[in-house]
Amino acid sequence: MTAHDPSPHHLQLTRDGQLRHFLTLDGLDRDLLTDILDTADSFIEVGERTIKKVPLLRGRTVVNLFFESSTRTRSTFELAAKRLSADVLNLDISTSATSKGESLSDTLLNLEAMASDMFVVRHSQSGAPHFIAESVTPGVAIINAGDGRHAHPTQAMLDMLTIRQHKQRFEGLKVAIVGDVLHSRVARSQIRALNVLGAEEVRVIAPGTLLPKDVESLGCTVEYDMEKGMKDLDVVIMLRLQKERMEGALLPSEREFYRLYGLNREKLALAHPECIVMHPGPINRGVEIESAVADGPQSVILNQVTNGIAIRMAVMSMAMGGQVAERQRQQAKGAKA
């Protein structure tokens, strides 16, 4: 029985299927994900010009709303917004308003008074960007820059862009995601993207303590033994391991984790010879991955950084475009009525 209908799927699309928020990959179809990748390709070309800037978001204000600090992600969003000619405001809320007891709703009210056009939201709680998208004034686009354990859709899409650049397709690909899937918003978005884009198999490789319940329902197979799991892989994605995982009795030690689930040359040799190695960063060398692999010929970790700006430009311009198109339609309807 459904009590209501504002599913995330409807929330992020306009009536005619254009993106207007970018909160999760759930509910977005293959065509839309492909459009995002194609648009990002065009922005990569822009990044190679003398003047790496296009006037799409000229005169618009993008607010980077980071309730959880992350210099790296915030910087790529900032650069992306600036290359779209937007004005950018960085707000590190983790240390200000909310810690003084101001509620998220009140913080938002204050920010809306600044007449922003887009909020890029990073939050430690799953679903926070959904909540913001449901409560902001119509016309303001919300981009999820990572929420709790839920989703990190721009990170997943830049990973997809990297895979497409190296493999030219998703059909027939065997991809493994290794490590702390339980706590990873990136892994959830990646599994979704790979399924929608048509990868043949998505494997997660991790000990039972680092897998969510019923993980197979997300669209993946489970392998506890990494050496078995490396077989025939075209892509291996390593996840970051937070040090505090030892404290909650999820793992005995970093050393045992590295021995069992760290990627070294020997394990990589078990994969397809052209298997690429990815990591959303920042890397813990000697915990998830051996330096020789991270810096080796099969590693595409640095590519991922370049692609991050292009994907964010694509998503920001598409969502803003959806919002303005929707507003135009409503005004036209209003004029007719």
């Binding site: 029985m1 459904t2 009590a3 209501h4 504002p6 599913s7 995330p8 929330l11 759930d26 509620s103 998220l104 709703s105 939050h123 709680q125 799953s126 679903g127 926070a128 959904h130 909540f131 409560s135 929420d147 709790g148 354990r149 839920h150 989703a151 918003r185 959830r188 969510p212 319940k213 019923d214 993980v215 329902s217 997300l218």
Partner: protein
């Protein structure tokens, strides 16, 4: 309950409609006579009386008034989330004639003084009967025993720990043994705190997909098992509040067969909704225990149908708007349900998951027996009645809801089943015509 006027001599006649007593009895109503707050006569005998007032119940169902074992009235408290006056009036709107007031107030109802306060306010402001539940541990902290004898003497009908657990099995065992001394029924929401940890949603498909923090089923089932064993050993009358797992129902049935004195209830929303309700991060459905899988829901409904689960409760938790306006994990748990219980229950009847008799039993005689009371439509029974139109429709919104909490489980579409009149000891606690 207000006793503003002496109505002992008033004679009230209800004609027409269908009597459903929740104990298997169903009959067309010819006439039902109420005198001195009790059902005085039925049938042609009732007709002959010279009455002060007649209620035409054609097309309605006449059931005993509903009894709620778990209701938060938010008083004492700061009033933002409602108070005894607002929430008992909402309960009357929902067809309830008796509600048990949860000890989770501010301050907590852990002393005779707070119990007296609740009863005093209810006596002057509530249109229905309010029966307080006392806190079994001081401040509901789960560490030290409360003055249970004092609570009983002040009028508490049972003792429990609200939605909160106790520190460990040793304290739980002592709580039970001490309550047993005074013949008090203990009410516990089974939840192993170490296993529930920081969770706030069912550990399952939706939690995995949305990256929510899960409460595994075993957090409940392990606690149910522990409580059943301790109840068996101490001999206390145990009532398990708000079950959510299929496995818990199995263990409960098995314990009842072995003769352990144990009863249980389930919140109305657990019978209709599942984990899927959280799919859009809808904070209204942040409830505790969490909504679980479809197979759990079916087992809970079956538990009610078979009488293993004695009562359906509202677990009414009114909140101010701000409490639900935040990312899911930061919101407060609970739904404002008490006005929707009947309509939601009738959806189960409509879907043939429950019979009307099952539903009425679980809302009347079932919960009444847990707190040692009776309920019925026979001569001599208390004239606590709920008269509802089973085909009438309404929409839960700001206009219709009486509760201070507007986060009803179903909004924005029509619900079937409208309470036309609620009578407490023959007096009108709710009359739709005058609302």
């Amino acid at each position: 309950m207000s006793h503003t006027s002496n109505q002992s001599s008033t004679l009230l006649l209800i004609t027409g409609g269908r009597l459903v007593d929740g104990q298997g009895g169903e009959a067309d109503n010819d006439a039902l006579l109420i005198r001195d707050g009790r059902i005085a006569a039925t049938g042609s005998q009732a007709r002959s009386a010279d009455v002060d007032d007649t209620i035409n119940a054609d097309g309605w169902v006449i059931a005993p008034g509903f009894v709620d074992l778990c209701c938060n009235l938010r008083e004492p408290g700061n009033g933002q989330k409602g108070n005894i006056a607002s929430e008992t009036r909402a309960a009357a709107h929902g067809g309830f004639t008796t509600v048990c007031a949860s000890p989770e107030t501010s301050p907590v109802n852990d002393s005779g003084a707070v119990t007296h306060l609740i009863r005093d306010v209810a006596a002057s402001r509530s249109p229905i009967r309010v029966l307080p539940i006392g806190a079994i541990t001081r401040g509901l902290e789960g560490d030290l025993l409360s003055d249970m004898a004092g609570l009983r003497n002040a009028g508490c009908v049972a003792v429990g720990n609200g939605s909160r657990g106790v520190r460990n099995a040793r304290i739980l065992r002592r709580c039970m043994a001490y309550a047993q001394t005074f013949g008090l029924t203990v009410m516990f929401s089974p939840e192993n705190q170490a296993l529930a940890a920081d969770g706030y949603a069912h550990d399952g498909l939706v939690t995995s997909r949305l990256g929510l923090l899960g409460i595994p089923e075993v957090a409940e089932t392990a606690a149910v098992m522990e409580m059943l064993l301790l109840a068996e050993e101490t001999g206390v009358r145990l009532h398990l509040s708000q079950l959510s797992c299929a496995r818990s129902v199995e263990m409960l049935a098995e314990a009842q067969q072995r003769g352990i004195k144990v009863t249980a209830d389930v919140a109305i929303h657990q019978l209709l909704f599942t984990e899927d309700a959280l799919a859009g991060f809808d904070s209204r459905f942040h409830v505790r225990p969490p909504l679980r899988s479809e197979s759990d829901r079916r087992a809970l409904v079956a538990g009610v149908r078979e009488g293993v689960i004695a009562a359906i409760v509202s677990q009414h938790q009114p909140h101010d708007t701000a409490a639900k306006q935040a990312p899911l994990a930061a919101t407060e748990p609970g739904l404002s349900t008490i006005e929707s219980v009947l309509s939601l229950g009738l959806e189960l009847v409509d879907r043939d998951e429950l019979s009307l008799t099952d539903l009425v039993r679980a809302l009347t005689s079932g919960p009444a027996s847990v707190i040692g009371r009776t309920s019925g439509l026979a001569e001599g029974d208390m004239a606590d009645l709920c008269l509802f139109d089973p085909t009438g429709t309404w929409v839960a919104d700001d206009r219709t809801l009486v509760s201070a909490g507007r986060h009803a489980p179903v909004t924005g579409r029509e619900l079937t089943g409208v309470v036309r009149m609620t009578l407490v000891e023959g007096r009108k606690a709710w009359d739709a015509l005058q609302a």
